[in-house]
Amino acid sequence: MGPVGMHHYLALSAILFFLGVFGVLFRRNLIVIFMSIELMLNAANLTFVTFARYTGNMDGHVIAFFVMALAAAEAGIGLAILVMVFRNRATVQADDLVMMRD
């Protein structure tokens, strides 16, 4: 095992991202799906920062901050929707929310 390099960061980022993807695909609880989305966003952040670090370009850092702000906003709105869904339907299970189909 050599020193920790760019590939390691990128590999970690990919693993995190696919953990998020599988979380979205296979979990039923909306809150968990939500957390999985956060995980994907953070994986993307890690990729940006990695490239910024290894190419000496500050753009990646800037975008990472943007993504964090976006994630915060998204979490705010998403959780608010969740609260409303729970109040109306008394459930946060994704499989129960299929009104659009019928």
Binding site: V21, L25, A94, V98, M99, R101
Partner: protein
């Protein structure tokens, strides 16, 4: 004066607009607009037209024969490349006669209508239609070009339809109006085709036009080219005329048209509109002269219609229907006249007929009015005692139509008979055959008209007690027009008093310039002569003895017809029933109008209906057109139903497709 030409048609149009507006304003109210306002507007319009026309006539008479032409262009109606069609009027000697007849007789009938239609809920609507008719008819007569003539032609057809179905709450009246309209449509289609053919031919000689004077000049310049199409064009135009002027085979609508108010029958279906076909042929005489075959057809159809309709008139019970068949028969005479090239005689009979037939119709209207709507002559009789003026005028007009000298009908009918007899045609026996047919028809005319006179006004009283109760002579508003028309029936003949009886035949000379000096009486340099062979010595010096003999014969058969009617319906009223019983089947055939309506029903109407229903409606419309429309809808629904399967509502499925799409895109980009 020439610039006031437009007043003649537009005064009635204004009247129609005013009365139409009034009728619409009062449509939802209990009562119609005040009758005196409607009558004032409705009658003033045609009378104004008549006065202008009379003033024009005075001016025209003062002018030398070659300058007797008024024209006025209002605006350019159609401008398409080299073709220009104007909204333009033209009044020459021929149109002048028509304008005077239409506005003169028209005004009288308008005044009569004031009395006849009194108290009718549709009073304003009636006068609006009647004025609109006057506008259309005058446009037809005064049109300078064929498209404008066609506008008038259709306009009078429309007004005829509206007025036949005037009392539209009775379904039979509405059906009669529809029948008139549809039968006329058949003729109009042929008329249009004829017009197109003429237009295409003018294009071929490099001068596309439909102006009547220009056409006339053009036909004169290129007789060869126009001679080639003249027969087809003239026959097509004539088919149009058979529709409008109720000739075989399209006459069936006219008897049914009697469903309209009686003054309408007098104005439209006797005096003016139905003569439009005769006028049109006279107007296009320069073309007809090139087509002797078409002329022969016109004359033959005319003669056939004259005798055919007269025979149906024998067996009718309805007084108006007798007159209707009589009109068809008399129109046949007019067509026979123009068919042998005696345009002047045809127009002359048109004019005298307008007087005596309008008088007969208005007289019958007066009777129907007095009898509270009864039209069956077998429930009348002896009315002369109570209705003196009506009976007297009816009698005068009947004598005129029967051809008793010196009344108008004698002069004009005799001129037609003589012209038919003396004009050489191809084949050579044709004039004699036509004459014989018309001669017999003249006797029949006298018989059936006097049958109507005797059944209605004389003989035993068959009036029901109820009708008798309010039997009365009509008001002056109705009898004065009757007297005027009766006077016309007496005097109009003297305008064309034949030369053989030491008359000047003023009417003939008046019209002669319009027909290029060609009217059998003068004969000569005409194109007809080239085709038919030299016109025999009919010019001026014809054998007066023959003419006297024929005249005496036609008077004799007229009197014989009257005498027959007298024998059968006054002297021996039981005889007709015995005769009809003896004839049995034949009588029933005539009584049922030779089953022509039934034949048309089975050969044309039913198959036409079947075609519309089975082919056009069920196959074309419901099958093809609705198939396309519904097919589009069904396709959209099927596509939707398929795509709908993807919308499961399960978020994970969506996310999966999202990922799938993402992977596919990335895969394509990386590869």
């Amino acid at each position: 004066m020439e610039r006031y030409l437009w007043i003649i048609p537009f005064a009635p149009l204004l009247g129609a607009i005013v009365n139409g507006k009034l009728a619409a304003l009062y449509a939802r109210r209990e009562k119609g607009p005040p009758e005196w306002v409607v009558s004032l507007v409705g009658c003033a319009a045609p009378i104004l037209s008549f006065l202008v026309a009379a003033a024009l006539f005075v001016q025209m008479r003062a002018a030398p024969a070659s300058e007797r032409l008024f024209t006025q262009t209002l605006y350019t109606w159609i401008a398409a490349g080299p073709v220009q069609v104007d909204f333009a009027f033209m009044v020459d000697a021929l149109a002048m006669v028509m304008v005077l007849v239409v506005t003169g007789v028209g005004s009288i009938i308008h005044v009569y209508s004031v009395g006849y239609m009194h108290g009718d809920r549709g009073y304003a609507r009636y006068f609006a239609y009647l004025n609109l008719f006057m506008f259309s008819m005058l446009t037809l007569v005064m049109a300078k070009n064929l498209p404008l003539l066609f506008v008038g032609w259709e306009g009078v057809g429309l007004c005829s339809y509206l007025l036949i179905g005037f009392w539209y709450r009775d379904i039979a009246n509405a059906a009669a109006g529809k029948k008139a309209f549809i039968v006329n449509r058949v003729g109009d289609f042929a008329f249009l085709l004829g017009m197109f053919l003429i237009f295409v031919t003018t294009q071929r000689v490099g001068h596309p036009t439909l102006d009547v004077p220009a056409l006339r000049a053009l036909v004169g310049e290129h007789p060869q080219v126009f001679g080639g199409i003249a027969t087809a064009a003239c026959l097509l135009l004539f088919v149009g005329a058979t529709g409008k002027s109720a000739q075989i085979p399209l006459y069936v609508w006219l008897p049914d048209a009697m469903a309209g108010p009686t003054p309408v029958s007098a104005l439209i279906h006797a005096a003016t509109m139905v003569t439009a076909g005769v006028y049109m042929i006279a107007r296009m005489s320069f073309l007809y002269d090139l087509a002797p075959a078409a002329m022969a057809v016109v004359a033959t159809i005319g003669a056939a219609t004259a005798i055919f309709a007269a025979s149906i008139g024998f067996a009718q019970r309805d007084i108006k229907r007798v007159l209707a068949y009589s009109t068809v028969s008399q129109l046949g005479y007019m067509f026979m006249a123009v068919g042998v090239g005696a345009y002047g005689a045809g127009i002359f009979h048109l004019m005298t007929h307008a007087f005596f037939k309008a008088c007969l119709f208005l007289g019958s209207g007066s009777v129907i009015h007095a009898m509270s709507g009864e039209q069956d002559m077998f429930r009348m009789g002896g009315l002369a005692k109570t209705m003196k003026v009506t009976a007297a005028t009816f009698l005068i007009a009947s004598l005129a139509i029967a051809g008793v000298p010196p009344l108008a009908g004698f002069v004009s009918k005799d001129e037609i008979l003589w012209m038919t007899f003396s004009t050489p045609l191809q084949p050579p026996w044709l004039p004699y055959l036509l004459w014989a047919v018309a001669f017999v028809a003249a006797g029949m005319t006298a018989f059936y008209v006097f049958r109507a006179v005797f059944l209605t006004f004389y003989g035993e009283d068959r009036v029901s007690a109820e009708a008798k109760h309010h039997l009365h002579e009509s008001p002056a508003m109705m009898t004065v027009p009757l007297v005027l028309l009766a006077a016309g029936s007496v005097l109009a003949g003297f305008l064309g008093w034949p030369a053989a009886l030491r008359g000047g035949n003023w009417f003939h000379n008046w019209l002669a310039p319009v027909f290029g000096g060609h009217d059998a009486g003068h004969g000569g340099e005409h194109a007809l002569a080239d085709v038919v062979g030299p016109v025999a010595a009919s010019a001026g010096g014809h054998d007066a003895t023959v003419e006297y003999a024929l005249m005496a014969l036609s008077v004799a058969i007229g009197l014989a017809g009257i005498f027959m009617a007298y024998r059968l319906y006054i002297k021996n009223p039981a005889l007709p029933a015995r005769i009809t019983a003896r004839l049995g089947r034949f009588y029933r055939m005539v009584f049922n109008k030779y089953y022509v309506d039934e034949i048309y029903e089975h050969t044309i109407v039913r198959p036409g209906y079947g075609l519309s229903d089975k082919v056009m409606f069920r196959f074309v419309d419901m099958g093809i057109i609705e198939g396309i429309v519904n097919g589009l809808g069904i396709t959209a629904r099927l596509v939707g139903a398929t795509v709908r399967l993807f919308q499961s509502g399960v978020i994970r499925t969506y996310a999966f497709f999202l990922l799938l799409g993402f992977v596919l895109i990335v895969w394509r980009m990386v590869r």
